[in-house]
């Protein structure tokens, strides 16, 4: 279980990183390495080159920029999970982190690396879609922003071009009074999700406004459940409504069939979890 041969470089600044990324065939960015390195050891991933960004200064920020929270490419999961900026502005992210791997992985792993890995059962890609985050993508020729909805294109696939790197995630602070909830079922705590459901909503005159519902682990990529959001919009929260939403959600997904968990089971989980996250989110909404 040793990786195949690869080139390794560890630049001190971002322009060099981006230049190397453009120059080298089949190069990958090494940030936390918590998914990439095991895959290389299994020889599932055999990149020709690794560009280690851990010596690049100033990429590990988690900061407010007006109403936007900006998270840099080297911000570690553990720091984000414990960040007061995140706790007070995006509490669903702190809550979701409870389900992300184990502390050893969170200490080293980065949010941006996690998003680029794009595991369909991973929590943060689903959460970024829920939060409608903007992905700041840089290359040696410039920079662009990609909405989360367009970033995750499939299993382990993103909108990144080979010469591009995800340098920052920008999340608009949810509106005051937003209720939220994240729940997940996996074999053990810290495992990839068999199904995870996340919800945010507001109540306006007792009716649900701007609901957002996202799921992970139940398709090729994490996704928003538009049909569920449509059913909820403008309705008063009730057990019946949430049961209807749950059935709609279960009908809208086409989960994978794996040896450990069947598609039918994953649909069951969405049916079970959706009413739970929606009712908690409704309770938390002001």
């Amino acid at each position: 279980m040793k990786p195949a041969k690869f080139e390794y470089s560890r630049p001190d600044d971002l322009p060099t990183v981006l230049a190397l990324l453009a120059d080298q065939e089949d190069a990958r960015i090494l940030a936390g390495g918590q998914s990439l390195v095991p895959m290389m050891n299994f020889r599932i991933a055999q990149p020709a080159a690794l560009i280690d960004i851990n010596r690049v200064p100033g990429l590990d920020y988690i900061r407010m920029e007006g109403d936007v929270i900006a998270i840099g490419a080297l911000a570690r999961h553990a720091d984000i999970q414990r960040s007061p900026v995140i706790q007070s502005n995006i509490p669903i992210m702190t809550e979701a982190y409870d389900w992300v791997a184990h502390s050893a992985v969170r200490n080293r792993g980065t949010l941006c690396g996690n998003l680029c890995h794009a595991d369909p059962a991973s929590e943060m890609p689903a959460l970024m879609q829920l939060l409608e985050a903007q992905m700041v993508v840089a290359s040696h020729t410039g920079q662009r922003e990609v909405p989360a909805a367009d970033f995750f294109t499939g299993t382990y696939e993103t909108a990144l071009e080979p010469d591009e790197m995800l340098t920052e995630v920008r999340i608009a602070k949810p509106a005051a009074g937003t209720g939220w909830r994240f729940e997940e079922v996996s074999m053990r705590k810290g495992d990839f999700a068999w199904a995870a459901c996340a919800a945010m909503l507001r109540l306006e005159a007792g009716q649900i406004a701007m609901p957002r519902v996202a799921v992970a682990g139940v398709g090729d990529a994490p996704m928003r459940l538009d049909a569920v959001e449509a059913i909820l919009t403008g309705q008063a929260p009730s057990e019946d409504l949430f049961q209807t939403a749950a059935q709609t959600g279960a009908d809208a997904i086409d989960p994978p069939e794996t040896p450990a968990a069947s598609a039918a089971y994953r649909k069951d989980l969405v049916r079970t979890l959706l009413p739970r996250v929606l009712s908690t989110a409704a309770e938390r909404a002001e």
Partner: protein, 827 residues
Amino acid sequence: MASHLDSNVIPPSRQREVPRQGMTWIGQSIKRVEDPRILSGKGGYIDDITVPGMAHAAMVRSPHAHARIVSIDTSKAKDLPGVIGVYTGEDLATVVDPCPSFASPPVPQHAMSIGKVRHVGEVVAAVVAEDRYIAEDAADLIEVEWDVLPANVDIEASLEATGDAVIHPDDRESNSALDQTFAFGPVEQHFAEADHVIKRRLRWNRSSAQAIETCGVVADYDAFKGGYTIHANTNFYNFIPFVIGGSLRVSPGELRIIPVLAGGSFGSKVFIHKIIILTAGLARLAGVPVKYIEDRMEHFMNSDSHGSDRLYDAELAVMEDGTFRSLRFTVLDDYGAYLQFGVGTHGNAMAQVTGPYQIESVGMRVIAVLTNKCQQGPYRGFGSEVTNWVIERMVDATAEELGRDGVELREQNMVQPDQFPYMIPTGNIYDSGNFQEVLAQAKGLIDYDAWKARAAEMRTEGRCVGVGLATCMERSVYGPTEWWSLNDKEAPGFTLTSTPEGISARIDPSGKMFVTLNSPMVGNSPETVVTQILAERLTVAPEDVVINYADSQTGFNGVGPQGSRFTAMIAGACVSASIKLEERLLRFAAHMLQRRPDDLELRNGAVGVKGLKDQEKSFGEIALTSSFFRLSFPDTEEFDSGLETTAVYDHPISSDPHPDREHLGIFYPIVGHICHIVAVEVDPGTGKVDILDYAAVHDNGTIVNPRTLGGQVWGGTANGIGSTLFEQFIYDDEGQFTNPNFAEFAMPTANEMPRNFKLGHVETPSPFTEYGIKGGGEGGRLGAPSALTTAIEDALKTYGVKINSLPVTPPTLRGLIRERELAITAE
């Protein structure tokens, strides 16, 4: 009345140290003496071993479950710089013969496949290179052409296989490796007389221990002397030369096996004979020392340590009043592609197949089924964990069908305290016990009645909360007839009868006591246990005991930690050595103090005159004088220099199986007893099980160290929770092993363990072992599955869910609940 057991006579006890209260060191929770060097990284595991000129091996493994090897092209690999040699099964066969087998008749196995592969992960070629990276690069360049054959995956379907699907067509016409029927007592008569026959079909699926360290070997062939020097993390290093010498074409004495600290075994490292043969053969072919450490996938796929994989059709004959009469079953066991020790795991289970209950007869048909999976090997419980679960399932089924309380039914049928030693129908004995006291303590520890009431109340509120209780046996101090007693009648290739354990001890002129063991440390506490027993018996200070490990050429008898034997057996060896050393200490001291030996006593590491506090000689003074000043003593042989001895302890009580297998003799007689009680809550929408409360009470006789025994109970319970809720090796229809990694094979972590684990002990000393010690190494895995299964069924009472197969992972349990939801809706 004549009985099939009449010929099975219980020999008298050879116990020398009787159990007693108030001992100085035995019974103390001293800190493990092994820990400081291990926790500071100085332990020395197999991968820490390097020898001059050492090369590294990597393997090419079969991607197919069942296939003929058409051709192997190694040319590209051979050309890679840094590669020393590339070898196929035919190459290896020029220097080694097939693997040994305890099975009778044997199922042939090669350390590297020749002509055909029989499970995914089997080795088909090996690269020896300057480092492991190059070896793996080269392995990737080897091209194998396959002729894929039908894969046998299902345990029942495999028995029907014909033609190309037969796994060993040269030796067997079908995939049934062994099919044996036994009747221990008048089974037919008891069933005919029964008022009720309770039937269940029960399935236990395969998993394995997955110690944190995989198996590994560093082997060197001495072309001049013709022998091998081998470092390996086997449990069994003093016996393994006798097991593998034939395969390596050397006499056992030409194999020097050097033990290393092992990073956990739980059975998985009992033999590791296959990779020792493989690595040694590669070293001989390559002409350099070779290191081979299994990676995790290799350990999953090819380590020969998969646990039981059984399908039972079981019947319990019961009288109207609830009295159990007879148990009988047909069991199919999916042994995988080979059968290294026959049906030894069923031999083991016969030690306690009737559980703690009085059942007059037992009938069994055991069919060892060959499939295209990795072969079975030892895993904590060695098959008895399954029968424990089966008998407890049958008791619960009986309680349900008779409308009885399960605990009350257990108490009604339990062996009573005045019935020991109690002989069960298979011939094994239960040496001692007090099952009622264990039950009472466990119930008290968790407040069983209050939990039952609370769970019932919570269920009326719509929550799925339940309580389960299991009373199980924990046989210990194995006798080796279990390996072959159920094999076919032909004599097996290799038999043992007493599992001797040896020790050597020397008190040196500095006053230190140097002790050499003949069994390795595998994560258990051999040094702590030996220190405490010697401190107890000889009054030496624990810090003066220094422990080392012999290798297979410098040591002698040792069978290693397995079958919950080590503590009781090494205690016997310690007592034997102490008796010999005491005799010499007293003789020398008597001369030095000018007293008769009868006037002297051992006290605080000294020999003193009874009743006279100031008249004594320390062990150090005696050793110094006896070692360096020979002329101070009479010129007779008994005063020869030095204070040292070797001693061995043979199995305390065992007998041979009946020639016609009317019974199996006494082979696993030192029995512990356990009661586990657990309260769980099930989330019916997800199938997740939350353990709310847990109590485990074990009776392992006299306890040497409550802390280390507690660790065994805790760890075994974690294994048991894994086997019940999480762990299963899933082979798909093509025989692909779908989850050979830690992401998908889900062992419980700290998060899945009970938050408030309540541990209790009862001490019913054995009348046969020294100090009354019993083994407890397999611990909680023998009880947790039964208690948890019962608790989950209790929690889901309103749904009427029945659990007949383990593990019940959340998806499985949710599936059972869904079935019942649909059935209830339909009603």
